[in-house]
């Protein structure tokens, strides 16, 4: 059926038509819409007995699928960018084990500088991991390639990545023909594994191979890919017979019959290239294009045959081999070895820069006139580059180049005038506001840090947090208190997440303290390194904190955090817990409470929302490491929060504070109710405030009065389904039981 549909949704529907049995996913933009829709379909029971695992990291996602595939299930996942790199070890492993895994890559750039927009750096980084890589030009092709990918993977016992441009395709609404289930079933027979874990036929999978056979094993993988070069063109016909559409293939040609110049590219930019070619054809320029649909294996012989007649080749690629040039163009040059055909490398569309038809036309004309540099960077802002290079000659000071570059670009207004760049937001940083308050009842010693005129305001105003953001508030409270306790000698490390994103990007930063962001899952280890360097340099007065959301803390970064704890590194970790992945658009984390609606625990099926009995208690996990200090705090109780941070800052070794921070967007609460919601979490007993030293609870903050959990739940639309009609009294009772358990465990009623 032909429908107007978002690319991600179309791909999710296509994957569901392929009857996967296990899906494991970890949220990362711009992959999220695909897995959100699949989680809903699975939960609704639309995908048979398929299991959907909300895992704790990308490494976990692919690893779970390696197990599922070895157990004989048809499996699927999707990721992109940092996520693909985070699972890199498992990517190679899956290929080495010959497991027919299908994975969508919603192509996105790789940081630093962090960038969530489209290019092909991620797929390219793992091009030689042994996976087949197919690239889609539009969403119809993305749908078709996924269906083909399952068959290809299973026919060859080889994993397949289907690469589609992030945002450009994943978030584009366009017409897509979604096939009927019966047609897909005809094309794709049930999975019949070559080998599997089965008590009836015990085999060992994944054992060691020594030097005597490793090369042979690798050669056979190479042979398998060469077989794919024969199978993939045949699939076009098979797919057409069953699904009545010509789709896929190693490559496809556009106006190449009489072309002098061939433009070669992967993915969605081929559409814009074809439009440019049509216009140049009208001007009498004989140009055509070759879209590479299958990049690994690389159709070297086939391309050579197609390109023999041209006089010039231009490879447009959304990636960069730093210090070398093009990645695809190097492969193309190898294909054309010995032929006297110049191959131009054009690096374009990095980090989401829009590739315009006019730039492409100019590029082709410049190539004809021999005016292209090698490699050529499309729409490069030379003003900014030259200014930065000149400045760099005068100073040795190292550091991120991106911030200074952005200052130059903003000063020159180049965002608007450069051909390839979009109109972007401009904004003003509000001046620091000091709130003068008089007639305080509290004496100076008991005044909150926040109430003092001389507080640092470490996280300055003017940042991009949503209205009513609990995390922004919690971070400012905690870091201001830490600054005071350390006499302003503080360095902060930040995991990827909302706090990191809204407090930057370059050239703005809301941080008034030295602050660094590296990756999503490694912040505690980065902080351990900072602490070690300070010790090596004898700067014991400088203290280190780490900040992360619940996803970074309880899920993807837990390994590094546990390492920081057990080594008792001199670092304070602050977890701002808003109970889901809010930065990527509200997906379940290991901290999401039972019954809560997220986009990967939707309110469909027999158990709407997040499952009761899942999730983890990180303060207790921290306590189990026997570290000097663990505390829980809430943005609703400023004094309590500041006291805990101050106490923790006064101690040596690994310390942990877990701060409850409502998220109006993810919780569906009114921005004006943030403090009220946080307070009700405490007063209902759902978020107990306590402190522990060396693994033992030593103190809890008593509740003033106990309120029923409904008062807390009813302010949040993520729990709306519990209130009916008809109300889910059983669910509410089980949440009340959790609160009562906390009240009893921590003696919250005194």
């Amino acid at each position: 059926m032909r429908v107007q549909i978002e690319g991600s949704q179309a791909v999710a529907d296509a994957v569901a038509l392929c009857r996967p049995e296990v899906i494991a996913a970890y949220p990362i933009s711009p992959q999220t819409h695909i897995v959100e829709r699949l989680s809903r379909k699975v939960k609704q029971g639309d995908v048979g007995r398929c299991q959907f695992l909300n895992v704790e990291s990308e490494l976990g996602a692919l690893s779970a699928l390696i197990g599922a595939s070895a157990a004989g299930a048809r499996i699927y996942t999707a990721t992109t960018s940092q996520g693909l790199l985070f699972m890199a070890e498992a990517v190679y492993n899956a290929a080495g084990l010959g497991l027919p895994i299908v994975m969508t890559i919603a192509n996105r750039a790789i940081g630093a500088p962090i960038n969530i927009w489209n290019d092909h750096s991620d797929s390219m980084a793992l091009r030689d991991a042994g996976w087949i890589q197919l690239f889609a030009e539009d969403n119809q092709e993305a749908v078709d390639l996924h269906i083909q990918a399952f068959r290809l993977a299973e026919d060859l016992s080889c994993p397949v990545m289907v690469c589609m441009d992030g945002y450009i395709l994943t978030h584009a609404y366009e017409p897509v023909d979604l096939p009927d289930q019966t047609l897909v079933d005809d094309f794709l027979p049930p999975f019949n594994p070559v080998q599997m874990l089965d008590p009836d036929d015990p085999i060992s999978i994944g054992a060691m191979v020594g030097p005597e056979a490793f090369t042979e094993v690798r050669y056979l993988s190479h042979r398998q890919h060469l077989r794919a070069l024969e199978l993939i063109p045949d699939l076009i016909g098979v797919f057409d017979r069953h699904l009545h559409r010509l789709s896929g293939g190693l490559y496809s040609l556009y106006l190449m019959g009489d072309a002098d110049i061939a433009v070669i590219a992967l993915g969605s930019v081929n559409g814009t290239i074809k439009d440019a070619i049509d216009e140049l054809r009208n001007e009498g320029i004989a140009v055509g294009c070759v879209k590479i649909g299958c990049y690994r294996p690389f159709p070297m012989q086939q391309l050579r045959a197609e390109l023999e007649g041209v006089t010039r080749v231009i490879v447009v690629e959304k990636d960069l081999a730093v210090g070398m040039g093009g990645i695809v163009s190097a492969d193309v040059q190898m294909a054309l070895q010995g032929l006297q055909i110049p191959v131009h490398t054009v690096i374009a569309g990095l980090g989401g820069r829009s590739i315009s038809k006019s730039s492409l036309k100019r590029m082709i004309q410049d190539a004809r006139a021999e005016r292209l540099s090698e490699p050529h960077f499309l729409d490069l802002n030379w003003t900014a580059i030259n200014e930065e290079l000149a400045r760099g000659q005068d100073t040795r000071r190292a550091g991120p180049v991106a911030e200074r570059l952005l200052r130059v670009i903003d000063a020159r207004g180049a965002r608007l005038s450069e051909g390839g760049t979009d109109v972007d937001s401009t904004y003003q940083v509000l001046p620091d506001r000091h709130l003068h308050r008089r007639n305080r009842l509290l004496d100076e010693a008991t005044q909150a840090v926040q109430s003092r005129m001389d507080r640092m305001n470490s996280l300055n105003s003017g940042h991009r947090a949503c209205q009513g953001c609990g995390e922004a508030l919690g971070a400012r409270y905690a870091v201001d208190a830490a600054m005071r306790a350390s006499h302003n000698q503080l360095i902060a490390i930040n995991a990827t997440g909302c706090l990191e994103v809204f407090s930057s990007p370059y050239p703005e930063s809301s941080w008034q303290i030295p602050w660094m962001h590296s990756l999503f899952g490694n912040a505690p280890a980065v902080a351990s390194g900072v602490a070690a360097a300070l010790r090596a340099k004898g700067r014991d007065e400088v203290k280190v904190i780490v900040q992360g959301g619940d996803g970074a803390t309880v899920d993807i970064g837990l390994g590094c955090l546990s390492g920081m704890f057990e080594r008792n590194d001199d670092v304070l970790y602050l977890c701002y817990d808003n109970e889901a992945y809010m930065n990527t658009g509200i997906q379940r984390s290991g901290s999401t409470p039972p019954f809560a609606r997220t986009n990967t625990t939707q309110i469909v099926g027999d158990h709407p929302g997040n499952l009761l009995g899942t999730g983890k208690n990180l303060p207790h996990i921290a306590m189990a490491h026997g570290i000097p200090y663990v505390g829980t705090a809430s943005v609703a109780d400023l004094h309590d929060l500041e006291e805990k941070v101050t106490r923790a800052m006064g101690l040596q070794g690994a310390r942990y504070i877990h701060i409850h921070v409502p998220c109006p967007l993810g919780w569906g609460s009114e921005p004006a109710h943030t403090i009220q919601v946080a307070r009700l979490a405490v007063e209902s007993g759902l978020f107990p405030l306590f402190e522990a030293e060396f693994g033992k609870v030593i103190r809890s903050t008593p509740m003033r009065h106990k309120v029923p959990v409904e008062r807390y739940l009813e302010l949040q639309t993520r729990f709306k389904h519990l209130f009916g009609p008809p109300p889910d009294t059983e669910a509410i009772a089980s949440i009340q039981a959790l609160a009562d358990h906390n009240i009893a465990t921590y003696g919250l009623l005194g």
Partner: protein
């Protein structure tokens, strides 16, 4: 090919507006493409979305830099970013505002446009009336159908119902219909003024 650029802020339904318009064009039998200029923006941050409508298959993927139609969902953006960049001289502009173009101080930007191609109207008020929420995308699409005549109001309604089945969809279609009538009346008046001016 008709190219539409939407400007608004995160959380106002700007991306949905572009998607709905593409769905409406699709049910009109046309080819359509909609996509956001997505960032890591939070609620309230300036953002854009794009839609293209054509009689033939749309291949290009570049951002819309030369729109035929501008739909400005949040008038507080007017003097903050260059909303009118690249607007076609014979283009259309719809603005969600209770103020007039003079009060908004944007007459200079619109000099080349025909007066019946420009309309500021209180789309948020219509949404508040019908939905009880100030999400103005549906009335702006009703206004788009009226001012351009390039898409059927019925197709806009179909798209809205498809995306939001049930009472939310009905409330949105009611808001779109009222906006359609409001803008139709407005441009008829403007055409009268034009006609009168030419007659003189």
């Amino acid at each position: 090919m008709l190219q539409i650029r939407f400007h608004g802020r995160g959380g106002q339904g700007v991306v949905t507006a572009a998607e709905l318009l593409s769905m409406a064009a699709f049910s009109d039998g046309k080819h359509a493409q909609a996509f956001p200029s997505f960032g890591s923006e939070r609620m309230g941050a300036p953002m854009m979305a794009f839609c293209r409508i054509d009689r033939k298959h749309i291949r290009t993927r570049e951002a819309v830099t030369n729109p035929d139609v501008l739909i400005i969902q949040d008038p507080t953006l007017l003097h903050q970013i260059d909303l009118f960049a690249g607007l076609a001289p014979v283009g259309y502009v719809l603005i969600n505002s209770t103020l007039t173009l003079e009060q908004l101080g944007i007459e200079d930007f619109l000099k080349t446009l025909s007066v019946d191609h420009v309309c500021a109207f209180p789309a948020s008020d219509l949404s508040l009336k019908h939905l009880k929420r100030p999400i103005a995308n549906a009335p702006l699409l009703g206004g788009f159908a009226a001012i351009t005549g390039l898409i059927q109001l019925g197709s806009v309604e179909t798209a809205i119902r498809q995306k939001f089945p049930g009472p939310v969809g009905e409330a949105n279609t009611a808001a779109a219909r009222e906006a359609y009538d409001y803008v139709t009346t407005h441009i008829t008046e403007q055409q009268g003024v034009l006609h009168h001016a030419r007659a003189n």
